[in-house]
């Protein structure tokens, strides 16, 4: 299975809106919570109450300062999880066949029963989307919540990834990116969704919607980005407008 399947008909994935994400970590924790008792081994934590707490997470939220040429830095929150790449190098490098991409919908998964914990797939992934579980010693990654999206034990409205369900700013969207008519595809088209590290040749399915333009105008002679505005017309007589407004009411 380690070879990739033919291009799937369906390409399920996430669209993440960097314009809206406030970096609240809700999706990361919901992911941890759902998956700790979901697909495969629990997501474990090491030294959880000690000096160097760490654990396995399938989704992590970074934040970056982007410094434009003029003006103060802009802050952008950036959730990072598996992009379910079309040309997933993590799949082809796997010697055991544990790592595979589903022919049906393109979801990239690890068959934990076959994984020998070599870590090579994590090396092959440019996005840091794979983490070896500290206790189970098998490779963990975003499953796109395979155990939710078609789960008949969940009400239909809950058949979406845990991270999407919880995101309080609705910055995460789930759907079929191969279907140009899907909401996610339309969103990507409308907002100019981008691939991460396209030069890595992975052809990610997940897309990121870039932040829209921002204004920032803290005062300083050099970085006043406030757009110019013409002077408001100063009414003749200080409160001439008040007379008129009151007269209208009479």
């Amino acid at each position: 299975m380690t070879t990739l399947p033919p291009e799937p008909q369906k390409k399920l994935g996430l669209v993440i809106d960097l314009d809206t994400c406030v970096g609240c970590h809700a999706c990361a924790v919901a992911c941890k919570e759902w998956n700790t008792q979901g697909y495969g081994a629990p997501l474990s934590d090491q030294d959880p109450y000690g000096d160097d707490p760490s654990g396995t997470w399938l989704n992590r939220i970074h934040s970056y300062e982007v410094k434009p040429e003029a003006g103060p830095a802009q802050l952008i929150h950036f959730p990072r999880s598996c992009l379910h790449c079309d040309d997933a190098p993590c799949v082809t490098v796997c010697p055991t066949g544990a790592s595979y991409k589903r022919a049906e919908d393109g979801i990239v998964l690890v068959n934990e029963d076959a994984c020998m914990g070599c870590g090579l797939c994590a090396w092959a992934c440019p996005y840091g989307a794979r983490e070896m579980d500290g206790s189970a010693g098998v490779m963990k990654k975003c499953t796109l919540c395979v155990d939710r999206i078609d789960n008949e034990n969940l009400p239909p409205e809950d058949r979406e990834p845990a991270c999407v369900r919880t995101c309080p700013t609705r910055a995460r969207h789930f759907g079929d990116l191969n279907d140009p008519e899907s909401d996610v595809s339309k969103l990507v088209a409308a907002r100019g969704g981008v691939d991460l590290m396209p030069e890595q040749g992975t052809r990610p399915v997940n897309k990121y919607l870039p932040p829209r333009a921002r204004e920032a105008a803290p005062f300083s002679a050099s970085c006043d980005a406030g757009s110019a505005t013409q002077e408001a017309p100063v009414p003749t007589g200080r409160l001439a407008w008040l007379d008129r407004a009151l007269a209208r009411l009479d």
Binding site: P53, T92, M132, G201, P210
Partner: protein, 310 residues
């Protein structure tokens, strides 16, 4: 990348083992191998032993070693799987080769060629595990397998010379070792030249490309996702101190190349007894350890862009 002890031992020691197999096989192919059962026994055991130790070390790298056998399944696509197959095949063929030699006293030519070819292929596969990774720009070059193979052959040749010395015929092998040492050193110099330019940026893994925030100005990590550490940071966002790296680079150059080179030259020139070549091998091995440590530790992985590295 985290310089895991198991992987350093694996790649360097198995390299010597497979290099020795290759050299013994080439010697047989060129009919240059002495007809000594003892040599076959000793050399064969040494080669197989080194390869085995290396492979064993690699198993220690696995979190679920009991499933290592599964690694044979994906030879179609996985260099690691291919390496597994080839290592086993090499060791099997070489075992037959060495056994035949030991029993008959004569090194079988065809089996020698096969062993040598397989051994080189095995080392090539090992190297390809790394070289295939676009995520690690330093590794992602044909120079990686070239350097790996030449280093394996150089150490193999020196090993062969050291073993042969006890059969009083080591000087020719020493000359071969000398040649491979020079080639290996040249390959590694070329590799380092490549490595210098192999930045994350060039591999399309700048912070901006990694986050899709291109054309907005320079991006800098404001907050890592967790203040705590994680597997990615341990495994792939390993950072070496510059001083430490330059010290180790010197160690690698001096112990891995200069000292063996001088010793080999002196041996070939007859200034040193061939029997001392074993010492040269041990010294060279230390140099290779340093080289391998650097190979991992200095390699930047694309994911480190997410952690703010450039």
């Amino acid at each position: 990348m985290h310089p895991a002890f198991s992987l350093i031992i694996f790649s360097s020691v198995s390299g010597v083992g497979f290099g020795l197999m290759a050299m013994l096989g080439i010697a047989a192919a060129l009919e240059a191998a002495p007809s000594s059962s003892l040599l076959a026994l000793l050399g064969g055991m040494a080669a197989l032993g080194l390869a085995a130790v290396g492979l064993l070390a690699s198993v220690f790298h696995l979190r679920r070693p009991e499933r290592a056998w599964r690694a044979f399944s994906e030879w179609r696509s996985s260099w690691l799987s291919r390496e597994g197959w080839l290592a086993v095949a090499t060791m099997a063929v070489f075992f037959v080769f060495a056994l035949t030699w030991a029993i008959t006293g004569r090194a079988p030519q065809v089996l020698g060629i096969a062993s040598a070819a397989l051994a080189v292929a095995t080392v090539f596969c090992t190297a390809m595990i790394y070289a295939q990774l676009r995520t690690v720009p330093r590794w992602h070059t044909p120079l990686t397998p070239l350097a790996f193979v030449l280093i394996a052959l150089a150490t193999g040749a020196l090993a062969l010379a050291s073993v042969l010395a006890w059969f009083a015929e080591g000087r020719g092998a020493a000359s071969v070792a000398l040649v491979f040492l020079v080639l290996a050193a040249a390959a590694k110099v070329a590799w380092f030249a490549h490595a210098r330019g192999a930045t994350l940026e060039r591999a399309g893994a700048s912070i901006e490309a990694a986050t899709g925030l291109v054309g907005r100005g320079a991006a800098k990590l404001f907050e890592a996702p967790h203040t705590g550490s994680n597997y990615l940071m341990h495994e792939m966002v390993y950072v070496v101190g510059r001083r430490r790296a330059s010290a180790l680079r010197k160690v690698a150059a001096v112990l891995g190349v200069l000292v063996p080179l001088v010793l080999l030259l002196a041996t070939v020139a007859g200034l040193l007894p061939v029997k001392l070549l074993g010492v040269a091998l041990l010294i060279q091995l230390l140099g290779i350890f340093a080289e391998r440590w650097l190979f991992f530790a200095e390699a930047q992985h694309a994911v480190s862009a997410y952690y703010g590295h450039r």
